[in-house]
Every structure is written in structure tokens, then in C-alpha cells.
Symmetry: C2
């Protein structure tokens, strides 16, 4: 009976952060909905909250438990926060993947890298072509963004049409890839749209967004005027920008060299998938070494100050045999993502010490955003005229503001952060239930839960240092020698100017000498007492309470 | 013979970062100069580079070795990056301290807190009053900044006059404290100035700075229109701003409550030192609990998202019995210092989840900087007309840009980052030598060198996790039991799905069984082998190479 079917929406990631996008839609009887997943991305770790972690994914446990109901995975575009987790998580979901050619190229590589069959990725042509996935009919709707072949999704369901924007901007002259096509979006909207699930990234940017094509002249002028070597960085995936930079170099009579694996790979993928046919000729780093500085332009990875990327390596000294020198120019054709400031400024200051002139986006000349600004969001609201707006792709503050913006345009909006399952069936979306969501860390080769305590323990060691006590007890429950202390990440000496380990060992030894037989027979008691003694003794001596491990070895009779 | 005397400048901190200011001047025969120190501040640690560290100071070893030649310490103003290290480092320098009354109030407290006699702090009246310090005559020259009673220093030496700006802006209506007095600065400059040592913080800000008095109307309007509780944060030391906020609250009919220790302390110091006589009446947090939300305005600490400050605690739930609620307003009357974005945004999003409206300084309405912008720096160059400009108080990029700015104004500038000793004796400053400088960490109660490796070890544990192996060998060099593994900060299971510690112990045990007598007799060999085995085995199992401690306990015969 169709009246018992419902249409649901559940963000597992991306609605509460900018990153790790993972949105579920479902249709069917309650608890038996057939499901599709839109995007499966990563977010990046930071030393200050996730030290040693390699990547962060949305926790997909909810979906994994229902994988028999998962019809398909759709990838809107090839940015890491939309496709980066595919290879790592696909085997837990095991559903066909659909994407446009350039995106599919990346998705297939992600699959291969993690040992999954890339044939599970289906190359899909855009609207009006449709993919049938259970009760859903899904079409890729071309839209402009900062990477080629981005798409919104038109998701037709028995309960009505959903438009899921993906990441987008309203760029009619995007240099490369699909311009924003207002008529096409209006055509899609015409039959009526139930819900617009909409990018919220730039809801706080008050002015209309600028086109990718506006940065060309300023970049060209800057490169023309440079006297030393020119080095520019941007997101490797912003192929249009890389092309603009390369053309500026070529036209200023410079040889162009792409540096950094991601940079070369993206351009290759662009050529392979047929979207990039007239990229300027490039030279290899080896050839670049032989050139005069004023005849050279490097385009490098690392616009966010990533430690291992080309820009950071150049800032530390040498990369692929090339070094920066006084009079060179370094251009950030990019914006620093909030949170990456320290890393980026470290590079800027290192270049400053070398006498390199650094130009960044402070004046808004050399970069434009790939996301729709506040007035652009209002425009898309008006073109699509949905029954309701569901903001996604934003921190909580963005989602909340986007709901307000929708209201300003007379549209009901609903705030649905990660884990909020919406029932979209009726005239207005309503919250159906709250699902437990979270984050999964890729730590080395292991996936661990954010709340498993592993990273918390590492942070505690980083904050407090670590003391390990070893203590041997013989067959008769008598101490064999004295407790032994090993300290890690703590000052060698404190108040008394004696080695910290000696002070701790003396206090522990005193405890052992005074301990009665009952205590010495009980490992738990020993451990508890020793931990307390070490923490208190360290507090007196160095003003810190370290993490303490006590290892009692009991020789068996 | 006076011709062999020289005038030197040596930044130990502050020229290469914004923070931990410590500038040395000297006059006398080479290597026997009599010295003064200007400012002795802190910089703040971050989890991503200095986990567990409490404060960061400039390494003053160079000055400590020459403390018999140190005549005095001058503190320009009461910001932590100028006075914060005084109490911690004073006993290593042991020289009289001079400061204007409000600053001296803080300096004396810093001394007392660390067990030093506050009587070493001399309350000093400003220009034309002078302090004799060996060959130096030093006067405090009032100047506007974001804290009351800021001062530049007029340092007269036998080789000429130096003007050391301290932190400053050109504010003729600063709400509280000294307005910028162009005539006074011109008077000081009249006899000729050899060197202008000058604040560089805002050299990249292209527009003239705005007065503190410009934020009042916007703040007033915002508070008047608010319907729920209003909570505002700013730097506690910006007493003028705190006063503006409090007056806006009072005038909107709200009771004002100051929250956070630093906030209450600063206002007390302002009243004590006589610079703040008409601050609105405040109520206690207990009284605030009894008020209606729309009759209440809190002014709280924590504008930079500091974990323990009032704003972060409100974001996590409750502070002093008060909580935020839907419809409340939270105002950041402050700028986020680069590097603190993640912490601040965490708070903003937490408030968003509570339904609190957050207003920040994006629109430049509710905050102005305390530092001179680029055109203001040009103005001070022109008023002082020094023979040379020495940029200070900035990262390397700021200092370098400031030298360029000086050149634009026809003034020779010289880049002197931390450790660069300048000889100022001649017509143009020149580099005399490079002195080894660095950072000292306050870690608990211990001062450790940044390069001592303590924090590096902590970061390694945070990145890689920690494995401790204990292994007991008996009197005959035979293993007593099997090696025992304790893991910290690592996933419990990896590839083989067996507990990681079991896998490591099995591999270690295999090594022990195969080890020959010579190996078992040699602790170093055992440790090296076991470390290698653990790292390799963990790499196979979990894709990480942990830090490893091996503790071999050898029972003595």
C-alpha cells in the first residue's frame, strides 16, 4: 500500500561540518526503505584533535547494517570530501557506484587503491539520462564548481522530486567544465520540487560570487611583471585554475612545470577524460633545473600548508632538485581553509626568510570560491522553488543561517544536522528520528571509532607525558629488586634538581618497603598505589601529573 | 675612550613572531656594554606543536649570562606578550623593573605570583620624567593601544636617541587611557632620532586604523535590539571595550555581570590604579542567576576560544550557574587571532546548536585593532623622521614588509629577526653578529628548552602511539617468562583480528626462543632487536610504526 511508504533523508556526514559528506535517501515502508547514498567523502585530521590519524570518515554503521537495502552510491564530484572514503568503505557497503566520467575516473582509482574492483564504478552521462536505483530515478545535473563535471542530482521518487545541489556556484564562464545553466535548472524545477537539499558553505558571504574567469587577468599581470622564478599553488583539483596559471606562465614566456603528485595526476585525469585538450606544454622537474629562474613557472601542490606537499617542502629547502631564492614570487591562488592558518603562515614566513615575495588572496584578486554565496543561494531557491529547503554541506552555524535565508525567501527550511532523519513524505519535512552517527578514523591501516579512546589516550600522553613503572615480584610475593621507572616526554629534572626518574623510584621504593603482605599479593592494589604515588610525586617535582602505566611481573612458582 | 663604545640592539623574542617580546639594548665597549631589557612576554602554546606546554618564553640565556651588566627592565604595557614572563624569569635576571602605574600593578602581581618581591617593580611616571639606567636615560611616552597606559620608550644614549614604539595605534579618541598625541611625539622627535624601533603587526592592513570610539554606536544598537540574554566577549585587558560593552548593557536597561577571572581582575586593576572611575555597576553571577534573561548582559573571557575560559564553558553547558538558551545573543567584540580559528568556531557551532545568535567581527562593526595599520606606520615614520627604522613585533613576513614600507618613505630599514644583534652606533645600523636564541617552555613548573626533545617525544607518542616491552632475564642470562607488551594509544586489533598485544608478544617470543646466548647477554642488542620487531610487526598489523620502549630487567645473581 503506497500510503504506508515514506521518503526519508539522513545525513551521516557533511551536515555539521564542511567535509566527509554522506547523505542517505530512502523510500519504502518504514524500516524497509530502499536506500541510496549520495557521496562518501573524507575530512582531514589535525594534530590538535586527531594526532596520528590519517583520514576521517563518517561512521557508516547505520548504513552498513542495512546494506541489503542499499541500491546505489552516487558521487556528485571528485573532491576528496565527496569521494575520498569510497575505496576505504566500499567493501562495507557493496553497492554499484555512479558518477560522471571525470569523477568516475577518480572514483575508480580510489577503488583500485584499496583493492576493490573499479568495475563497480559506472560511468554515467548527465541529464536527461537517468539511473534507476530501486524506487529512485536519479539524473546528474551539470553545475559549475571548482572542479570539472560537478553535478547536482535530480532524484525522482514516488513521493516527488528532490534536487540535491551537491557543491555548486552560479558561474556562467567557468573557464573549464559546465557553466551554470539557469534554463536547465528551471526545466528540472518545472514539474515541482519537493525538497531542495542545498550547499550551505558560503551562506555568510554577502556578495554574489565571482566567476572563475575573473582571476585570469590579475594572475596574468602578476606573472608578466615577475622577475625571478614564479611559483603558484592552488587546489590541484581546480583544473580550470591550474590551466589559467599555466597559460599565464606560457604567455609570459615561461616554461611550466607541474609539481606534486596530485597536481600531475589531476591534469592527467583531465586529459584522459577528454575535458582538457589544450593545456600548455609542461616540462619535467629535471628539465626545470636546467632553466633560468626568470624563464620558469612552477605550479605546485600544498595551498593549505600540508607538510608533505611541494610548497611546504620548498619552504623547508628543496623539492625535486628545485629551491626558492631571493626575488622569486610565490602566489597562493587559493584561500586558507579556517584551521589551516598556522601551517600556511609557517610557509609564508619561511619564504619571507628566503627573500621570496609572497602574494596571497588578501585582496581577492587571485582566487574565487567554488561555492554559491548568499545571494546565489537565494537565486537557486528562487529558480527551484521547492516546497522546502534542507541545508547541507556546512557546519551547524551555516545550516542554521541557511534555514534563516530560506525563510527570508518565503521557503520553509529545516535544520537537519548529521543523524537527523527527516520524513519528507508530507507537505513539510519533519524529523522522524535521531540516528547515532559519528566519525571513523583511518589510523594507519585500521578503522577505529572516534570514541574508542585510542586517540584520546595519545592526546593524554602528548599533554601529560608518560611514566611506565615495572615491578617484579617473586614466587613468594616478595619484591625482586626495586621498582623501575621509565619516563617519556617529561623534563629530566624538576624542583629537587635530581633526575625525575630517581625521585619517582625512591618514592615507589619507599612504598614497597612499607607495603604489607596483603598489598603485595594484590596486583590491582599495587598498580593503584604506584599510579597515585607517581602522579603525586611528579606533581611535586615538575608540576604535572603524567599518564602512568604500572607493569607488575609476578614470577610463577 | 668613547669612540670604542657602541650602541647595540638585540631582539631575543618578538622579532619573528607576534608574542614573547624581549628586546635588549646595550651601550659601552664591545662585549662590555651595559644593558637594558624592554619587555619580557609570553607566547601561547598550541596542541599541534607544543602539547601540554603551559607558556612559552624567549630563551634569555644570552642575557642571563650577562646579568651583571643588566641595568633595568622596562615594561611598555600590561599585555601578556609583553609582561607575562616577568614573574617566571625575573630571578634569572634580577634587575629593577620600571613601568607606568597600571602596568606596574600587573607586573607586581606577576612577580608575587611566582614568589618574587614585587618591590622590585618601580612605578614610573611618563615623559618628561626619566629613568637613569647606566648609560641610558629612558622615558615612557604615552601612546594609544588596546590597553590603558601603553607607552613607547624614548631611550637616550650617548650615541643618540632611540624611539621604541611598543605596541601602538594612532587613536585620538581611545575611550579610555592616553590618546595619541602627535605634538608630543613630534617634540620627542625634534632633536633627531637615531633609530625608530617600530611595531609591525598591521603592516599588511592597507587602510588607516579606526578609533576605539567607533565601535560604541554599533554595539549599543545591537544590545538595544536584543531580546534574550546578551553575552559579549573581548580581551579582558581591553578595558575601554569592556567599558563600552558594559555601558551598552546598562543603557539598554540590563544588569551587567563580569565573568571570568581575568575580566574581573582587569577591571579591579583599572579601578585600583585610578584610570577607571565610572564603570557601570555590576552584579555577581549569583545575582545574575535570579535575573530575567532579557534584563541581563554578561561580559565574559575567552574571545579566542580558550578551553577553560567562560565562553568555552558556556558553549559546553554551564558557567557559574548560568546557561545560554535559544534566542540569546553572543557577541565576539574581538578578532580571532590567526591559528585560533578552530577553537573559536567550535564555540560558535556549539552556540548555534543551542539556538544562540552569534555575531562576530566579519563586518568590522564590533571591533577595531589596537595596532597601527600601514598608513599609520607611514605617519609615525614621518613624525619621528628617524635615521633608520628597525621593525619589531611581527612575524618575519611583517618585519620584511615593514622594511619595504620604510623604503617607500625614503627611510633605510633593517631586517633584524630574533638573534640579530645590530650595531646602531654609526649612521646606518649594521648587523654586528648573530646570537643563538630560541624558546623556553614552561611545562608544569619546569622550564625546558624547545629543543630539549621533551615535547618532540610527546608529539611522537601522539602521532605513533606507544608500546612498552618488559622482559625479565634471570641470573643465568635465561629468559624468565615471555616478553610482555603494553600498548597505549593504538588500535586494539589490526589485520589479523587478534589483539595487537598478542601478535606483538608472539613475534617477540619467537625472537627470544631463537636468540643465542651472546644476544641474551647484551641488553642493547635485545632492546634494538625488540624495538625493530615491534615496529615491523605493528606495521604489518595496523599500518603504523609506534614508539617503543624496551625494559629489560636482569635479576642479579
Amino acid at each position: 500500500m503506497s500510503s504506508t511508504n515514506r521518503l526519508i533523508y539522513l545525513p551521516l556526514g557533511g551536515a555539521g561540518e564542511i567535509g566527509m559528506n554522506a547523505y542517505v535517501y530512502g523510500y519504502g515502508p518504514k524500516g524497509k526503505e530502499r536506500l541510496i547514498l549520495v557521496d562518501i567523502g573524507v575530512t582531514f585530521p589535525h594534530m590538535d584533535g586527531t594526532p596520528g590519524v590519517d583520514l576521517i570518515f563518517a561512521d557508516i554503521a547505520w548504513l552498513e547494517e542495512r546494506r541489503d537495502r542499499l541500491e546505489a552510491i552516487f558521487i556528485t564530484h571528485a573532491h576528496e570530501d565527496h569521494v575520498g572514503a569510497l575505496g576505504h568503505l566500499w567493501s562495507r557497503l557493496n553497492a554499484p557506484v555512479y558518477a560522471r566520467p571525470f569523477t568516475a575516473n577518480h572514483a575508480a582509482r580510489k577503488m583500485e587503491e584499496q583493492g576493490n574492483d573499479p568495475a563497480n564504478v559506472n560511468v554515467t552521462q548527465p541529464w536527461p539520462n537517468r539511473v534507476q536505483a530501486g524506487p529512485f530515478e536519479v539524473a546528474f545535473l551539470p553545475v559549475s564548481h571548482s572542479i570539472p563535471e560537478s553535478a547536482g542530482l535530480v532524484i525522482d521518487t514516488p513521493a516527488g522530486r528532490i534536487v540535491h545541489t551537491g557543491d555548486f556556484k552560479l558561474d556562467v564562464t567557468p573557464v573549464l567544465g559546465d557553466p551554470f545553466d539557469r534554463a536547465l535548472w528551471a526545466e528540472v524545477a518545472k514539474p515541482g520540487v519537493k525538497v531542495l537539499t542545498c550547499d550551505s558553505t558560503n551562506v555568510f558571504s554577502p556578495n554574489p560570487g565571482r566567476s572563475e574567469s575573473t582571476v585570469g587577468p590579475a594572475i596574468r599581470q602578476l606573472v608578466e611583471r615577475a622577475s625571478g622564478m614564479v611559483v603558484a599553488t592552488t587546489f590541484a583539483s581546480n583544473i580550470a585554475r591550474v590551466k589559467t596559471l599555466a597559460e599565464a606562465g606560457r604567455d609570459a614566456g615561461r616554461a611550466v612545470c607541474l609539481m606534486g603528485r596530485a597536481m600531475r595526476r589531476m591534469i592527467e585525469a583531465g586529459v584522459q577524460s577528454g575535458i582538457l585538450d589544450d593545456f600548455p606544454k609542461t616540462i619535467s622537474p629535471e628539465e626545470a633545473q636546467a632553466m633560468n629562474r626568470d624563464q620558469l613557472m612552477l605550479i605546485v601542490t600544498g595551498s593549505q600548508g600540508e607538510r608533505r606537499a611541494a610548497s611546504a617542502q620548498l619552504a623547508r629547502g628543496k623539492y625535486m632538485g628545485l629551491t626558492m631564492a631571493e626575488g622569486d614570487l610565490f602566489l597562493f591562488s587559493s584561500k586558507t581553509i579556517p584551521g589551516n592558518e598556522r601551517e600556511v603562515l609557517r610557509i609564508v614566513n619561511a619564504f619571507s626568510e628566503m627573500g621570496v615575495d609572497v602574494v596571497d588572496d588578501d585582496a581577492d584578486l587571485y582566487h574565487v570560491s567554488g561555492h554559491a554565496n548568499r545571494p546565489d543561494l537565494a537565486t537557486i531557491h528562487q529558480i527551484v522553488r521547492p516546497q522546502a529547503v534542507v541545508p547541507m554541506h556546512g557546519e551547524h552555524r551555516h545550516l542554521r543561517e541557511h534555514v534563516k535565508l530560506a525563510a527570508e525567501n518565503g521557503l520553509p527550511g529545516i535544520l537537519a544536522p548529521n543523524g537527523t532523519m527527516l520524513d519528507l513524505t508530507g507537505d513539510t519535512p519533519r524529523v522522524a528520528e535521531f540516528v547515532e552517527t559519528g566519525r571513523t578514523y583511518l589510523d594507519g591501516s585500521v578503522q577505529i571509532g572516534a570514541l574508542d579512546g585510542v586517540v584520546r589516550d595519545r592526546m593524554r600522553m602528548a599533554m601529560n607525558g608518560q611514566v611506565t613503572v615495572t615491578f617484579i615480584i617473586d614466587e613468594e610475593d616478595e619484591p625482586l629488586g626495586e621498582p623501575w621507572v621509565e619516563i617519556m616526554g617529561l623534563p629530566e629534572k624538576g624542583r629537587s634538581n635530581a633526575p625525575l626518574s630517581d625521585v619517582l623510584e625512591a618514592d615507589l621504593d619507599q612504598f614497597v618497603r612499607r607495603a604489607d603482605d596483603k598489598t603485595l599479593a594484590d596486583d590491582d592494589k599495587i598498580e593503584e598505589a604506584m599510579r597515585r604515588i607517581v602522579r603525586q610525586s611528579a606533581m611535586n617535582e615538575i608540576g604535572k601529573r603524567p599518564e602512568v602505566s604500572v607493569i607488575v611481573s609476578r614470577l610463577s612458582a
